[in-house]
């Protein structure tokens, strides 16, 4: 396997994730898109770690997984909160404050 295959995969995932963040209205989907980006990062890290024969990349990836879980947890909580007050999880509707 070549390193660039992983990097390419990661880049594609990253782009899909970004696309998702920028286009999805559904808050949960946005969070999932971000998860995609984080996984792209993880692939990068693991691949580079292997490439460099360094454990650091994998450790980093583990940390990211753990932190991502916390992030999504909090994120979902907030989305739920929004849903409870607005009966909608369309993030584009939240524009009370602007300017």
């Amino acid at each position: 396997m070549y390193l660039n295959q992983f990097l390419f995969l990661s880049a594609v995932l990253f782009c899909i994730g970004v696309y998702g963040v920028l286009t999805r209205k559904n808050g949960v989907l946005v969070l999932m898109s971000i998860e995609l980006i984080l996984n792209a990062v993880n692939i990068n890290l693991v691949a580079f770690g292997a490439f460099n024969a360094d454990l650091g990349g994998q450790v980093f990836a583990l940390f990211i997984i753990a932190v991502a879980a916390a992030e999504v947890g909090v994120g979902l909580a907030i989305v739920l909160l929004i849903y409870r007050n607005r009966r909608s999880i369309d993030v584009t509707e939240a524009d009370l404050m602007k300017g």
């Binding site: 970004v18 963040v21 920028l22 286009t23 209205k25 993030v91 584009t92 939240a94 524009d95 009370l96 404050m97 602007k98 300017g99």
Partner: protein
């Protein structure tokens, strides 16, 4: 310093060290009146009159001391001068290097001055009082000297007021004040205190009951003090100070009745016109300051001018600048317009300030810095120069204007302008003594005329309108009449009254008439002078007729004024008769069998001939034929006018002007007459230019003037300035400059408004912006780096 001179040198009388007391007394009088009069419940004149009399006494003592001193010097000098002619300088008593003009026994008057500057802290007390009380360092340099040529040097008492820019050696300069006593200043000292005394006395009656009686006397005192301060100046900066102070007093007194706008307008006009001239004064003095090696000292400047250390070009430029000051202060064309307006002030003030003293300050200035003018304008051997020309034009131009005035004071005002022109003309042709002498005699008879006019108006319910409110007054007020006639005669140059002598000498000085040999041949000024001589007699005859002859045209019954008014008139009239005898030509004196020393007595006292600070001038030789011709011209003009009015009277007892005479028939004459009544359109010109550059025909300008400006005679330059000011303020200041500032603020604010639209409130767009910017920047940097 004394040791520089021979052992038998004549020492200057002690009084010369104390002349500073004279202005100081008047300043004290001013302060006392201002602060104390009301509180002490003392009428203001109780303070003012004793003060001014004390000054008069001191001035007279000074004058007699000067006479004695100068004759002592002349006496001791005569002996020496004969020896010194042989070239033995050591016996001349002043073996001072430099400045010795070949042939002429010139005495340097300044060399000893800065020879040894010393701090004299012990002498504080000498100047511990009055306005010369300065704390800190006091440098006292007493300089006394006398020349071998028979004329004493000016006696200067200087204190160093302060130093600026370091010590003199390091390129700094000492600024000194002090007194300079010489013939010219002593003469003015006497004139000012004398006229001032009479005016004080006169005023107690004239302004009796005025609501600002105290204030009036206070300013009279202040004026006298300032005038004396200026007269005694030893440095140009002191002269400037005095010059401005008399201007302010003039301002305050012209505007004495400031409740009425025309009065305050006149005051403003006077002050502002003088300010215009002051530009020249300041610049001229500055040029001289640097040219003479950073000094304001008048004697030094004169000496350096004479010795050629200052180039003639510099002197010319400085002289021209100073001429501007002379033109404004002494009412020369074209800056004379303020002087007739200044008649808005109380009449005694007009007599004192606007006839006898302040207005001659310009003439005095020329005399004070005569070396500068004489050499700068190249008077010696000249035919025409700026000064003589200005003087000539003024004396004729103003004389013409005097013919068309209805207001008696205005006639006198224009006459004053004309006579001041005469004096300037005299100095312009190099007739120094004649100019000064005319100043002297004119002060006396013109003061008499003004006070007489005041007396007349006192009788005629405070009107000055000869045509409407006067006529036939000789029967009601004989004293006023006779004094007025005598003074008019003196003014018109009728022998043997005062004006005759002084005027004659001026005409002689022009050096045109055969055998007079002046400094040059000043043909044009001479013609002007002759014309003015004729005109003077003419318009004074007109005044006398309109005022004292014919029928009384006013209302009520006029009465003679009280003794406090008539006494000064009589004193001045006597003076008008006799003042001229002070400077009779020598040939005449010899011919009538008087001692020779009576001839040119005034000249001997006043003219500092032969000293290093005075230029070598030539004197014209008197001519009987010229005197006769000039007198005949005057008498002829008077005769014509007299007959004109007599004929008029025969037709209509109340008439004052011919309504269908030649004036109205011949267009040219009519235009000329209009020209005169409109005062040569000078006021129109100034104001017209301001108000929008009206360039229409003269008549339209006149009409416009009559309609719009007559009751709004704001100072001429003022209005342009105001208009310009408005324009600049509105469009440049508030428009462009301020606008730019405000606009940049507005655009910042507008930019903020636009940028706010970025903040849509939609999180998706935020994310897009964030990632878009990130991607864009990454792309740019990757490509660029």
């Amino acid at each position: 310093m004394l040791s520089l001179f021979a052992a038998d040198a004549v020492s200057a009388p002690a009084i010369f060290d104390w002349v500073w007391l004279i202005p100081a007394i008047m300043a004290g009088s001013f302060l006392t009146i201002l602060l104390g009069s009301k509180r002490l419940k003392v009428p203001a004149h109780f303070i003012g009159i004793p003060a001014v009399i004390a000054c008069l006494v001191l001035a007279l003592v000074t004058a007699f001391s000067w006479i004695g001193y100068s004759s002592d010097v002349a006496h001791s000098g005569e002996v020496k001068s004969e020896e010194s002619f042989g070239g033995t300088a050591e016996t001349a008593g002043a073996p001072v290097p430099g400045f010795v003009d070949a042939g002429a026994p010139t005495v340097a008057c300044v060399e000893s001055k800065h020879g040894d500057d010393y701090d004299d802290d012990g002498d504080h007390d000498a100047f511990g009082a009055g306005e010369l009380a300065f704390s800190g360092e006091l440098e006292l340099a007493v300089e006394e000297g006398e020349g071998g040529g028979g004329t004493p040097c000016p006696v200067i008492n200087d204190v160093t007021w302060f130093s600026n820019g370091g010590d003199p050696e390091d390129g700094g300069s000492d600024i000194t004040v002090g007194t300079l006593v010489d013939g010219q200043s002593v003469m003015l000292l006497v004139v000012v205190t004398f006229i001032s005394t009479l005016v004080h006395i006169y005023s107690t009656d004239y302004v009796n009951g005025d609501r600002r009686y105290t204030h009036y006397f206070a300013f009279l005192s202040l004026f006298t003090a300032s005038m004396l301060f200026m007269v005694l100046s030893s440095s140009t900066i002191q002269l400037i100070v005095g010059w401005e102070l008399v201007g302010v007093c003039s301002f305050a007194l012209i505007g004495h009745w400031w409740e009425e706008k025309p009065n305050s307008d006149a005051a403003l006009k006077a002050f502002l016109t003088n300010r215009v001239g002051d530009i020249g004064l300041l610049i001229g003095m500055i040029i001289l300051y640097f040219a003479a090696g950073k000094t304001f000292d008048i004697t030094t400047i004169n000496t350096m001018a004479v010795s050629g250390e200052i180039s003639q070009n510099t002197l010319l430029v400085a002289g021209l600048c100073l001429m501007a000051a002379v033109m404004s202060k002494s009412g020369q064309f074209v800056l004379h317009t303020w002087l007739p307006d200044a008649m808005a002030g109380p009449t005694p003030v007009s007599a004192l300030i606007h006839a006898a003293t302040m207005v001659v300050a310009g003439v005095y200035l020329i005399g004070r810095l005569y070396a500068v003018f004489f050499i700068g304008f190249g008077i010696s051997g000249g035919t025409l120069n700026a000064m003589a020309l200005v003087g000539g034009i003024t004396c004729v131009g103003a004389g013409l204007l005097a013919f068309v005035q209805a207001d008696i004071k205005k006639v006198l005002a224009y006459s004053t302008v004309s006579q001041l022109g005469y004096m300037v003309l005299a100095l312009g042709v190099g007739a120094y003594t004649a100019g000064m002498f005319h100043l002297f005699t004119h002060a006396i008879f013109k003061a008499c005329l003004f006070l007489g006019a005041g007396s007349v108006s006192h009788a005629c319910h405070h009107s000055f309108d000869m045509k409407a409110d006067m006529g036939g007054l000789r029967k009601f007020m004989p004293k006023t009449f006779w004094t007025f006639v005598i003074a008019s005669g003196a003014l018109a140059g009728i022998p043997p009254l005062a004006g005759f002598w002084s005027k004659d000498e001026i005409l002689v000085g022009a050096g045109v008439w055969a055998g007079t040999d002046g400094n040059g041949t000043f043909t044009l000024p001479f013609i002007f002078g002759m014309m003015a001589a004729a005109m003077t007699a003419g318009y004074m005859t007109r005044v006398i007729w309109l005022t004292f002859f014919g029928d009384y045209r006013g209302h009520g019954v006029p009465h003679e004024s009280g003794p406090r008014i008539t006494t000064p008139l009589i004193i001045l009239a006597v003076g008008s008769v006799f003042a001229g005898f002070l400077n009779m030509p020598k040939p005449f004196v010899e011919k009538i069998g008087l001692p020779s020393s009576w001839g040119l007595w005034f000249e001997h006292q006043v003219e500092p001939a032969g000293i290093g600070s005075f230029p070598a001038i030539d004197h014209g030789k008197p001519s009987f034929s010229l005197a006769i011709v000039a007198t005949l011209l005057g008498l002829g003009a008077a005769f014509l006018v007299w007959n004109y009015y007599k004929a008029l009277y025969a037709k209509d007892h109340k008439a004052t002007e011919v309504t269908d005479g030649l004036m109205s028939k011949i267009p040219l004459l009519k235009a000329g007459h209009t020209m005169l009544t409109e005062k040569y359109y000078l006021d129109h010109l100034y104001t017209g230019a301001i108000a929008g550059g009206t360039k229409g025909p003269l008549a339209r300008a006149a009409y416009w003037f009559n309609q719009n400006v007559l009751d709004k005679t704001v100072d001429t330059a003022g209005k342009t300035a105001v208009a310009t000011g408005r324009f600049v303020y509105k469009y440049i200041d508030q428009g462009a400059i301020d606008g730019a500032v405000n606009a940049s603020g507005a655009s910042a604010s507008g930019g903020g408004q636009v940028l706010r639209r970025l903040q849509t409130g939609r999180v998706r767009q935020y994310a897009t912006l964030m990632f878009g910017a990130a991607a864009l920047m990454a792309a740019v940097f990757i490509v660029a780096i």
